[in-house]
Amino acid sequence: VVADRQSIERVLAAFDQGDWDEIHLVTGDVELHLVATADGTEFANLLDKSASALPPSGGAASTPTAAAAATPATGPAATGTPTDAAASTVPNAPATGPVTDAGPLTEVVAPSPGIFWRSPRPGAPPFAEVGDRVEPGTTMCIVEVMKLMNHVTAQVPGTVVEVLAGNGEQVDRGQPLFRIRPEGA
């Protein structure tokens, strides 16, 4: 492991000078997580399994603390895992359209494997929330696959009753992403 005390201090100093939101590094026994929060304070999290290279506390604007490796809740990390039960109800989605009939509710499914994005860009409001009324053609989400951004649209008019995948989560082709109560159902 080459990450010694001096090199950790260089990263801290660079973070103080830069205008980056986050640095998160893991190498060998060292995990270093620096987060600039919205109110201008910084959060530092260092895990050194060898416990020999802790930097001094209170250095510059950063406050490195020896702590558990848990990621601070400030990051917009994806939460939740895909519901396998829901996915297994539609093992083979029709290739022609992203809608599968599931009783009175309709599902919007992923047209391809990819990354599920609920909003057009980070920080923007989601395309569709629970309770929203949608029309055929309403964009529900983006499924990103290999740098292609596929807009997934509703096929029937109705109301969103459930969002089935977490933002930024990897989804499979045919995996249900939303449940919609069709108009009149």
């Binding site: 260089r10 830069g18 980056w20 590094l25 494997p113 290999m146």
Partner: protein, 458 residues
């Protein structure tokens, strides 16, 4: 001499840079996202730093994490590869500020070369032909005035652009206003800069580019040209060197123009100048500068014997170029095929997933640059390039014949690939006769191939 280089990329180019480090006796430290922890380059590198989650915006595109990784592991050099942060002046600046050698040109050169409008102006001032067109256009009205002057069809291009994003072809005045809006929005989303310029669209053109190397001592040499006319949606599919379809006199002028432009940019490192060649008129015009190593650099390596990535490492260490212009010799013909995880008969739908069979071809003049192996899971997070197959032979027809056999011997299962497309393309009479232009793949080849495939497998 550099001691320890951070390889700030992934995929085949990461492996390519790691091998060049090995050859130069330099230790390599690779940045990986959480999705790439078990990749082939991660196994090949001397050390690995996880720089964030799978999403590239928070890992490979996070300047703070990348520069932090270099500082944490004590790297004295940083190779950005292509794509990701390779042409972001912010990374070159951060390297400079923190005492890490950026393996590429200075930030100011990246800025001047990367701004397409500024680069066009520079080329024009040096007497290098630029296509009929404009500087930055403020709005649809200004674009319409330029388009009327240079004549339709026109191409709208992003000032900060690349990779075809923010680029739209407009065939008639009625479509222009809408296209300006869309192209500008796309450019703004992709590059944070919605400025556009307008160029006359040359219908029968070849894409010819010149590979340049420049050191800190002021030596600038070119390693000849490449013909990258086989494209789909402005994405290159097949590249070859040298550009033998273009008359020799014209090629010499193009190479001179490339060297002149790179000198004026105070260029350092490996870079490429791209041109459009109007085959019928026998003229050429400057397109853009790429301030990084390119995907297709191997075809130049095969015909010149110069290892471009090793030269990059030596240049960054302050060494003089190992070749003078008069030493550069061209030997035979090389062709590269991009094997992408895409289904070419299904609208080129991306095809991530588990590779169950992976058998690349072998042979003394057959080179495969790849990070794939049997059992590798191709992530959905990144681009679709799986491998580059490069074939080298004394003459072009022999290289094509060799490529046909090598493509037949390349077996991949589990994901869809562009291999079937290449197998058909390499045997097409227009390719054998060297007749293609930049529209040929989309207008001639793909429709015919799709028809033939349907007849064979209805």
């Amino acid at each position: 001499v550099l001691k320890r280089v951070l390889v700030a990329n992934r995929g085949e180019i990461a492996l390519r840079v790691i091998r060049a480090c090995f050859d130069e006796g330099v230790r390599s430290v690779l940045t990986v996202s959480e999705a790439d922890r078990d990749s082939l380059p991660a196994r090949a590198a001397d050390e690995v730093v996880v720089v964030g989650p799978a999403a590239a915006a928070r890992s490979y595109l996070n300047v703070g994490s990348v520069i932090g990784a270099a500082l944490l592991t004590g790297c004295d050099g940083l190779h950005p590869g292509y794509g990701f942060l390779s042409e972001r002046p912010e990374l070159a600046e951060a390297c400079e500020r923190h005492g890490v050698r950026f393996i590429g040109p200075p930030a100011d050169t990246i800025r001047r070369g990367g701004d397409k409008i500024a680069a066009r102006e520079l080329a024009r001032s040096l007497g290098i032909p630029v296509g009929a067109g404009s500087g930055s256009v403020a709005d649809a009205q200004a674009a319409a005035a330029v388009a009327a002057e240079v004549g339709y069809p026109v191409l709208l291009k992003a000032a900060a652009g690349g990779g075809g994003r923010g680029m739209l072809r407009v065939d008639a005045p009625g479509e222009l206003a809408d296209a300006v809006g869309r192209a500008s929005a796309e450019a703004l989303a992709a590059f944070g800069d919605g400025r556009l310029y307008v160029e006359h669209y040359v219908a029968d053109a070849r894409h010819v580019e010149v590979q340049v190397l420049a050191d800190m001592q002021g030596n600038v040499v070119h390693l000849g040209d490449r013909d990258c006319s086989y494209q789909r949606r402005y994405q290159k599919l097949v590249e070859e060197a040298p550009a033998t379809a273009v008359p020799a006199g014209l090629r010499a002028r193009i190479a001179d123009a490339a060297v002149t432009l790179m000198r004026a940019l105070d260029y350092v490192g490996a870079g490429t100048v791209e041109f459009l060649v109007d085959s019928r008129a026998g003229t050429f015009s400057f397109l853009e500068v790429n301030t990084r190593v390119q995907v297709e650099h191997p075809v130049t390596e095969m015909v010149t014997g110069v290892d471009i990535v090793r030269e990059q490492l030596r240049i960054a260490a302050g060494e003089a170029l190992s070749v003078k212009q008069e030493d550069v010799r061209f030997d035979g013909h090389a062709i590269e095929f991009r094997v992408n995880a895409e289904a070419p008969l299904d609208g080129f739908a991306p095809s991530p997933g588990l590779i169950t069979t992976w058998v690349p071809p072998t042979g003394s003049s057959v080179r495969t640059d790849t990070h794939c192996y049997p059992g590798y899971r191709v992530p959905a997070h990144y681009d679709s390039l799986l491998a580059k197959l490069i074939c080298h032979a004394p003459a072009r027809d022999e290289a094509l014949a060799l490529a046909g056999r090598a493509l037949d011997a390349f077996h991949v299962e589990g994901v869809d690939t562009t291999l079937p497309l290449h197998r058909a393309l390499v045997r097409h009479p227009d390719v054998l006769a060297h007749r293609a232009n930049t529209r040929w793949v989309e207008q001639v080849f793909l429709p015919g191939w799709a028809r033939a495939s349907q007849e064979k497998h209805p």
